[in-house]
């Protein structure tokens, strides 16, 4: 027990230390600060997908829709409503999360492949809206003309736009808050019922757990996290485009979660690191970078079906 806990805390400390000092050690390996911010944001997205996939056992293939809605809402807020980064984030999180929660209510009775199909369908609806609504979203050209604003604390300001390192720490702070909240939920009794549903839905139902309601809450929470990640992503690039809502991006998030280890808490972050960094490096070398990611996924699914972190776990959890 103590040894386990100690190990757990040591791992946590290592993860946070690595993240905290990332702007300083990344350049040694050819990384750069903006890449770090992107990894964190996509990692948060993958962890949000995994919140549902790994801990409730429900596979959504349309989560990019909430990610993209968050990005558009954040961008449009900054462009038209108010020049405030926190307000943009709040608006993005609310719009994406509420849309996800509302549609989630229609989804919770479906299971397995049917659930995944309906999530794709809903996701594509938003994709085509973003693609066609030229006057609002800029269509296929994407949404431009907004930029992240300095954080104003009255006495002093933090310039997020021109200082990449400040922005990285801002993203890291947001990431830490979201991940902390996620861990808190998973550790709560509600989080336990999510795992119970994943393990044996019928048994959970016989125990008196309102399964549909709990899946809906888990789905809605996951959408809020996803929309938060999407809003951050709009700030990373100062740009949003319809591909952020496309199901292929949903697929990328699922790939990150599966690659990293979908039943582990930190696995998706590791998956996102591998995915994003590989994409960044290999795509500079060859245009066929997708083949390499594809090959990696095939190898992982064949030999390490529990992902990177899953294979590190001792057998007793198997």
């Amino acid at each position: 027990m103590t040894a386990d806990q100690r190990k757990h805390l040591a791992v946590l400390a290592a993860i946070w230390a690595a993240l905290l000092f990332a702007p300083y050690w990344m350049p040694f390996f050819g990384g750069y600060t903006a890449l770090g911010s992107r990894v964190l944001v996509l990692g948060l997205g993958a962890m949000s997908v995994n919140f549902l996939l790994g801990f409730t056992g429900v596979l959504s293939f349309g989560h990019a829709a909430w990610f993209g809605l968050g990005a558009y809402a954040c961008g449009l807020t900054l462009k038209h409503i108010a020049l405030s980064t926190p307000l943009g984030l709040l608006a993005g999180t609310l719009v994406g999360g509420v849309a996800g929660a509302l549609l989630g209510a229609l989804l919770v009775r479906r299971r397995g492949i049917y659930f995944a199909m309906v999530t794709i369908a809903f996701g594509q609806v938003f994709y085509y809206i973003a693609f066609q609504w030229l006057s609002l979203t800029g269509g296929d050209d994407g949404l431009r003309g907004f930029a992240r604003q300095p954080l104003d604390f009255g006495l002093f300001q933090i310039d997020l736009l021109h200082n990449d390192i400040y922005f990285y720490y801002f993203v890291l702070f947001c990431f830490a808050v979201a991940v902390g909240l996620m861990a808190f939920i998973l550790g709560s009794p509600f989080g336990r019922t999510m795992i119970a549903i994943r393990e044996n839905e019928r048994r959970a139902r016989f125990l008196g757990i309102p399964v549909e309601l709990h899946i809906w809450i888990a789905f809605a929470l996951s959408c809020f996290f996803m929309a938060f990640a999407g809003s951050l992503y709009a700030l990373v690039n100062n740009f949003a485009d319809p591909r952020m809502l496309h199901y292929s991006l949903s697929g990328d998030f699922v790939i990150m979660a599966v690659m990293g280890g979908m039943r582990t808490f930190w696995g998706p972050l590791l998956g996102a690191i591998v995915f994003v960094v590989l994409q960044d490096y290999i795509s500079s070398v060859t245009v066929n970078w997708m083949s390499f990611i594809g090959l990696l996924i095939v190898l992982i699914v064949l030999f390490f079906p529990r992902g990177f972190l899953g294979m590190l776990r001792p057998r007793r959890t198997a």
Partner: protein, 423 residues
Amino acid sequence: MSKKRQSLATLDRRTFVKAGGVAALSQVAAPFIISARGETALKIGVDEPLTGTYAAPGKNEVLGCQLAVDELNAKNGILGRKVEMLTEDSTSGDAGTAVQKARKLIERDNVNLLVGNVNSALSQAMAQVSNEKGIMHIVPGGHTDPITGADCKWNVFRVCNTTRMEANAVCGLLFKTYGKKWHFITPDYAFGHTLYQGCEADLKKLGGTVTGNELTPLGTTDFSAYLIKARAANPDVLVVLVQGNDMVNCLKQISQFGIDKQIHVAGTQQELESVEAMPPEARVGVWMFEWYWKQASGTPGLDAFIATVRKHTGGKVPTARNWFGYVTVHAYALACEKAKSIEGKAVAKALGGLELPPEVKLQPNKVYFRGGDHQLMLSAFIGELLQKGDGDPENLFKVNSIVSGDSIAPTVEETGCKMQMPA
């Protein structure tokens, strides 16, 4: 309780050790990076489509840039500094990726000049990034008007035509030759939208009518539904505005359906990359090229340019895209030499108003960057497609006239550009 305290103590020690280690490492890191900066060559970051529907023009622009870089390095570089070129695949239509790559080139590689893109929407998205970072940016081949119009920026220049210039170059001729009822097939993004607006305005002025406009998403492979609608509308001319592989697919299907036997097929911008990828029977209609390799003999530097490109492409002739890339890098080098500096604002000032020398412009008319909107005034080569090569298997276009850029471009005021240099 004691357990908890113990584990907290472990956390502290481990964090401390790790943090200490990383902090120690960072002490070594900082001077290492700074020492590397002074020795770097002048860097040109090229962010162009190497995959997807615009892969062929994208790769040709990259080749054009590379030829110019080779020429510069063989002489004196730029201001005595070697020139290094970094290439990234922006994809053909994914603006998010193009933005990401532009940031990578600027933030990680510290490029002095950003080059790109073939795709108009991607060019606009990249221009926002380069402007935010204050980096010189030349758009070799993205045509949509706002880049050097309503959305113009002090650091952004463009080599290829605007969509309005393309429309002005051929609409009159199309109207006169083929008739007044037009039906459009338009790519559904920035380039298509502004090109359609330009053609529509010109057509209205001439007294013609539009029977319909089919908006097709970039990367469409099956045009049959659009073509059936176009045929049912019974226009005089079917105006094809899509580009790249989309153009190839569309014209192939037009000839398979036999539409070219019933309706005249034409368009504005046409490119050698697309024409060569088409079956001969699909090569029909009146078009404009933005640069064409077969010109009157005696054009200075042209034969040498053709020979160099042939050497690099296994015998293929240069296309307009090769020329765009070539002009992009040479224009930047000329501006740096003129300004005697590589500092962004000085170079931008020098490039505004710069006239291209004969060995770079490779055509008869005067070619220069307009200072007011940073648009290159280049000629339009207007003529007809040939089904079979005339004299050379790649001479697939008969040039009827070469019109100077000044005569087809709207004035700076009409473009809506209000150029503002930073303080």
